[in-house]
Symmetry: C2
Subunit: 496 residues, 2 copies
């Protein structure tokens, strides 16, 4: 069977991924190494994710702010561990002027001290918090910003690894350790909610091993999703920073007893990478598939008209139908309904909508109008065209149809993860054999002894510990890395 995406997932996942993005017209590489252009459809998807996240971030008591793009190099020097993790690849501003010389533009006016384009903002926000926080009354301080950050990428991939990316970064300061840990977990739950309930991507919640933590953090909590090539993708992280950043920046407060103490801080972020994860979770060999809550357009009406006369009849009917459907609601929001009024064939327009992942595609021609009916396609099952469906019945069941599509995407992603999860591995050799085999992907659930360095042996087989799941079985077994007795459950996988 011919598919809309030339390369199939099973044949070349990376190539398929690029083609899905191109065919859905979501994004492309720019002339600037590692920086992408997010086009209208890709950006609208990001805006949907953003809106859902932003609502929950506000509802949990955070305030949006805006800190500078540039960070003085000195601020990075303060926090040694943090720098180790990031210092490698950052964009450095050294001049603040251009002048023309021999017909070419060249940098001029060198800065006394270089500025770093933020790779993340713990340092500069920490500096401000140190100024703002004086007493326990000033805590908790709960901030969030939506912004661009830059981490130079040598091997860029659209949405997944780009030198510039968009994200939100939350930063909070608290009087007590427990309260900060609670915040760290609360925000991971916010991520889980958006990723699972809205984006319909099943995730495993857990903490990172010391070697996989955010540079400078005491603990990193993560949600790990599985892509359709069996690899893991970290879909959101929330860091308990202990007093490390507070000490480096001097975030101190007088407690109720008058004693001066360092605050406990957290940070947490989710980025445009989520758009890449959404594609790799739900897209198929015919292009993107979008869960209705995230779809910028949930229902697209494709007017079918062979000539101007037909067009004059069909266009107003399409608009009238759109208006009618917009009065319906799905999950407390009015339906997002579009009409594809472009001058192209019905078949081309239907396929364009399929490749963009629109959940429900309605075809409306003169014959449908005469019969008071529509023809529609569910994106999760395009083989079947629902023809001659009475318009009233179609409209009445539309929210339910969207719910069914939502559920189908969730179910398929869950089934895929289940099929790609391996439980029985008991030794490093078996682990290595699994990941070295042809079909060796997916999540391996196994034991990990808490001490010792796991990095080298796992690195040799291209595997990382994705997380130590919140849900621990409590059983005993053998550590898959060291072979020692171990009770701690861990998830091992190749990862993005």
């Amino acid at each position: 069977m011919k598919t809309a995406i030339k390369t199939r997932r099973a044949d070349n996942f990376a190539e398929w991924y690029q083609e899905v993005i191109r065919e859905a017209d979501m994004a492309e590489h720019s002339g600037v190494r590692g920086c992408m252009i997010i086009k209208p459809w890709g950006f609208a998807i990001w805006e949907r994710i953003q809106r859902r996240l932003d609502d929950l971030i506000r509802a949990t008591g955070h305030h949006n702010v805006c800190f500078p793009l540039f960070i003085p190099i000195e601020l990075f020097e303060r926090e040694a561990k943090h720098v180790e993790g990031f210092a490698k690849e950052m964009a450095v501003v050294t001049h603040h002027r251009l002048v023309e010389r021999d017909g070419k533009l060249v940098p001029d006016a060198e800065l006394e001290s270089p500025l770093i384009v933020r790779p993340t903002s713990e340092t500069i926000i920490g500096e401000a918090m140190a100024k703002w926080v004086k007493s326990w009354r000033d805590l908790p301080l709960m901030l969030n910003q939506w912004c661009n950050v830059v981490r130079w990428e040598m091997r860029p991939r659209l949405f997944l690894r780009t030198s510039e990316f968009l994200w939100q970064e939350g930063h909070t300061a608290h009087a007590g350790r427990d309260e900060a840990i609670e915040e760290t977990r609360r925000m991971l739950e916010v991520y889980r909610q958006v990723v699972e309930d809205d984006m319909r991507m099943p995730v495993i919640r857990g903490t990172k091993t010391p070697g996989e933590r955010f540079p400078g953090a005491d603990d990193t909590h993560t949600i790990e999703a599985m892509m359709q090539d069996g690899r893991a993708l970290q879909a959101g992280t929330s860091h308990f920073l202990g007093q490390n950043f507070a000490r480096a920046a001097g975030i101190q407060f007088q407690d109720k007893g008058g004693e001066l103490k360092h605050a406990f801080t957290t940070s947490w972020g989710a980025s445009t990478r989520l758009v890449g994860a959404l594609i790799m979770t739900h897209a198929d060999d015919d292009g993107l598939r979008l869960p209705p809550t995230i779809a910028p357009t949930q229902v697209l009406i494709v007017p079918i008209a062979r000539d101007d006369a037909a067009r004059a009849e069909v266009m107003p009917a399409a608009e009238a139908l759109a208006k009618r459907l917009r009065a319906l609601r799905f999950r407390d929001e009015p339906l997002r309904v579009g009409v594809d009024a472009r001058d192209d064939s019905g078949a081309n327009k239907r396929w364009a909508a399929i490749k963009k992942g629109v959940p429900v595609i309605v075809e409306l021609g003169p014959r449908d109008i005469a019969a008071g009916a529509v023809t529609y396609t569910r994106r999760d099952a395009i083989a079947e065209k629902h023809q001659g469906i009475a318009m009233d019945a179609f409209a009445a069941s539309l929210p339910e149809t969207l719910g069914a599509i939502d559920e189908a995407l969730w179910r398929q992603a869950l089934d895929y993860r289940k099929a790609q999860t391996v439980e029985g591995i008991r030794s490093y050799d078996d682990l290595a054999a699994h990941f070295r085999s042809e079909a060796g992907t997916g999540f391996v659930h196994g034991k990990l002894a808490p001490e010792g360095e796991t990095g080298d042996r796992l690195q040799a087989i291209g595997v990382t510990v994705r997380c130590l799941p919140y849900e621990q079985s409590g059983t005993s077994g053998t550590c898959l890395v060291s072979g020692r007795p171990a009770t701690q459950d861990a998830v091992f996988a190749k990862a993005y």
Copy 2:
């Protein structure tokens, strides 16, 4: 009479402006030269402006996108006129790595060719449009992005002149000249709508003289507002770029007849500067005043409780009142109602709300609750406390009260502009005498001959032509610069 802002507008406008921002806790300078930190209240105001603008930008058929932060230096070399206007002060990225040397971090890995942090994105968006546009079917192409831009500032002022600022920049390409000019004017009207109808700042719409145009534009349309020191502030501009950028970037299309033509492009922007303009239009000697549509909190309830027992009674009553008021609507949106639950005195909390510009401040104590009444203050008239107002009557008239505040702010701004507008000046000497005098500010409406250089003589008195208003009287007179006969009306002013 003592005022909440120490410095009065009339005494030192610049100092007053800084204090209003500080007392309302809106923003502050960061350690990075010229870059500000926008704090929660300042950012929430920007988000309100942003939401209103974004809604209208979408409603006029534009799509949000995201282009890279960095622009290759070569792209600037292509568009000579554009570079002249901007080349001076831009942040230049020259390295993409940091390394530690002698315990200090230093830039490493020099880029082959420097990258510019975007001061505006005509060049990079033009390059993409050249790739995307092939035929008349691809036009119009109507894009918008919300982003940060950087123009190095030597004398920064919060919101008004910062090296990094936030804005939206719209970029469109059209097949025909008239259509592009129509778009240019349509977007100016969008700006007028948000600035006048929502922010309640009266503006004059017009076009810029050639010397004041955007670098590379054929025509620049502007809305000019008057600040409370009589100076003009450009509150939004919309540029008709003709075929200049299309030629530089190669944006060509095949028209219906198969002929290859250059597109006509436009660009238009409005920035965080608007927050500064809002302050300088509406704030008074007691702090900020916000029009209800823009106020993040329209009604703040201040619980009055001297002890824990009173607090236990008042807090639930305050929350219940807030809930009740949130069910009301103002201009198609539910009311935004807050409760100030902080542990501080009622008087302090009331003054904090006054300085933040909250339109309606409600005090609620045990006696009010017993009487089923409230005490409230309108921010536009804080001298009068409305005491013992029955809660039902207060709630019922609240949308009307907000409407009255909205109208009062508009009326006062309009009256101020009227009082500061001078009509009778007929010669350059009188113009110079006016602007050199103690009270020499405001808008001078006068004639300007269309030809010749006006820059030098006006520069000598610190004045610019703000615009050639859309509404022309058609009368004859004498050019205020050259003394020649002239029919064209112009607005002269000192400006931000």
